[in-house]
């Protein structure tokens, strides 16, 4: 199997901060907005280098989304950032009217997504945001897997003309993708080729899927790992090409079951290639306080649980 080297734990939000700085250097239209979370969103370097293009909005996310839309009309490329819950659920109607329906060129920078936000607990851990954002016509939804890919995705989002929801996380996680690979919106990345089963994963779960594949290789199970870095628009062609080869699959995401990547891929398979599918997700519940690692384990989102799901998926093969 393809070997991935963890070059050292890095948070994906720092990948966003680095990508934002790079995008800002490449294009003077890029501006950054935050609702009192400059440090958490790693916007400090951008703010330092481009003080006039850094806009502090105070703790008023609804207004921030509207201001971002207005700035976009004047030709700016605004990245409006907050914690995932506060830039999705809290401002859903603002995003719907001002960004999606208005089709303004706003990038929603969604940090601390999922259960791995950790100790702050359920008020801050959104496991519903992919569902919310997927439901909006025209919204691009991206959930990159590590620091390098988040940086590249941020640069790609700045180049793309239209609304983008860019989801990333808080904790340090393995950084393993090629730092020189540009990000292609709408492309699924085959991380490891396999023949017996496919694991579709996004965000932090891509590394867990690779670890699971490695463990299963020793048992003689050949696992294909596909990184669904862009959830919308989904790379249906890549999804179908993979399952047509492996004939069974697992979908793994740091998100609840309703409206997530699992249901999305289930819909594609049901319509095109009805095949067994197993799911790794948070189910239908809220998060709670804990370390990211403990929560991943408790909510069934780690490599060990993916291994079990793969065994179930393989057993169901017809």
């Amino acid at each position: 199997m393809k070997k991935y080297i963890d070059t050292g734990k890095k948070d994906t939000r720092s990948g966003f901060g680095a990508g934002l700085l790079e995008a800002g250097r490449r294009n003077p239209a890029v501006v950054a907005l935050t609702a009192d979370l400059k440090g958490s969103l790693k916007m400090g370097d951008f703010a330092k280098e481009f003080p006039d293009r850094y806009i502090q909005c105070g703790i008023a996310e609804a207004n921030m989304v509207g201001v971002a839309a207005g700035l976009a009309l004047t030709g700016k490329i605004p990245f409006a950032g907050s914690f995932a819950e506060f830039i999705s659920g809290r401002v859903y109607d603002q995003v719907r009217q001002e960004v999606a329906y208005g089709h303004t060129n706003v990038k929603l920078a969604s940090s601390h997504a999922g259960i791995t936000l950790g100790e702050d607990g359920a008020t801050h851990q959104t496991m519903e945001d992919i569902a919310l954002m997927r439901a909006l016509p025209g919204m691009v939804v991206i959930n990159p897997c590590d620091y390098n890919q988040t940086k590249a995705a941020t640069i790609a989002a700045a180049k793309y003309d239209g609304p983008v929801y860019l989801r990333f996380g808080r904790p340090g996680v393995p950084n393993f993708t090629n730092p020189d690979e540009p990000f292609e919106i709408g492309k699924a990345y085959v991380m490891n080729e396999g023949t017996d089963v496919t694991v579709f994963a996004c965000g932090h779960l891509v590394w867990e899927a690779l670890k699971a594949a490695e463990a299963l290789e020793d048992e003689g199970v050949s696992v294909e790992v596909v990184n669904i870095a862009t959830i919308k628009p989904l790379d249906e062609e890549a999804v179908l090409a993979s399952v047509r080869k492996t004939r069974t699959a697992v979908v793994a995401e740091e998100h609840n079951s309703a409206g997530g990547l699992g249901e999305l891929i289930a819909g594609v398979l049901a319509a095109n290639e009805p095949l067994p599918l197993e799911f790794i997700n948070g189910g239908d519940r809220f998060g709670q306080t804990g370390t990211p690692a403990a929560l991943m384990q408790a909510y069934g989102l780690d490599a060990a649980h993916i291994v079990e799901a793969v065994r179930r998926a393989v057993a169901r093969k017809r």
Partner: protein
């Protein structure tokens, strides 16, 4: 420059358009459209630097207008048509299937003159502040105008935007509140208890002008004052005292006509009361 008599003719025609559009569509929001018709007529015909021929959503080099209280789309559409953004007869397509004149303002069918969708209340002031900030970043001298409802000002986001615009010194932003003291469920005081709007906006760091929204001399003076305040460090709020349904006695001063269409007979009565104008109906 338009005389008060010319402006009065235009706003009367705008009211005729409003009543006819809503009556023909069988739905829509005439009350707030008619209360804001006079000061918005002045804004579109006299005050705003805009050119329908070169308009686009970027607002570069000209003034922008955002209708935050999106339900008052009839007054907006009438003024856009009457100032040349699209053919006046298109007003007859208001609320029809496939029309560019959606129930609430929309951009996805490409109606010229509309910068942003509105209808979900409380959001337009934020969008206007964003355009104003974008203009400042670009050194663009254009101003941004936005109209909010008084009932709409019960939305918390209005006040978020109020804090933001003052904090960032958006002195190229001119907001107007159509202070007709009516909303769907009754008077604003009975429903939301907004209290002293003038004191509230002053406390938020805005320049506040209060004027009679149906007297063209007062409207002219209010906009002249706002123009003087352009570039002086603070956003401007003009609170226009108005009368819901103004111009037609049975629609006036009540919340009953917030979102109700006049019947054919009521429409005829309203048009008779308003009287004909040299501009003519669509």
């Amino acid at each position: 420059m338009y005389t008060d008599i010319q402006l009065k003719n235009i706003s009367t025609q705008v009211r005729r358009d409003i009543v006819r559009m809503v009556s023909q569509a069988g739905s829509g929001h005439p009350g707030g459209s008619m209360s804001s018709a006079d000061f918005l007529t002045f804004l579109f015909f006299e005050e705003m630097n805009h050119d329908p021929a070169t308009w686009d959503r970027s607002a570069k080099g000209f003034d922008a207008f955002i209708l935050s209280a999106g339900h008052t789309s009839p007054v907006y559409y009438s003024l856009l048509a009457r100032t040349g953004y699209f053919p006046v007869p298109e007003l007859g397509e208001f609320r029809h299937y496939g029309s560019r004149l959606q129930g609430h303002p929309s951009v996805d069918k490409g109606l010229p003159g509309v910068f942003q969708p509105s209808g979900s209340l409380g959001q337009g002031l934020s969008a206007a502040a964003g355009i104003a900030l974008g203009k400042k970043l670009d050194g663009d001298p254009g101003r941004v105008f936005v109209m909010c409802g008084d009932g709409e000002s019960e939305e918390g986001q209005i006040w978020e935007a109020g804090i933001f615009a003052a904090h960032h010194g958006l002195d190229n932003l001119v907001a107007m509140t159509d202070w007709n003291n009516q909303q769907i469920d009754g008077t604003v005081e009975s429903v939301g208890g907004l209290g002293d709007l003038e004191a509230k906006w002053k406390a938020f760091g805005w320049e506040v002008i209060v004027a009679d929204g149906h007297d063209f001399d007062a409207i002219r003076a209010a906009f002249a004052k706002a123009r003087e305040l352009d570039g002086k460090g603070r956003p401007v709020m003009i609170l226009f005292h108005t009368d819901m349904g103004h111009g037609v006695d049975f629609m006036s001063g009540t919340c009953a006509w917030h979102g109700k269409a006049p019947s054919a007979d009521q429409c005829a009565e309203a048009l008779w009361q308003l009287g004909e104008t040299p501009l003519g109906d669509y």
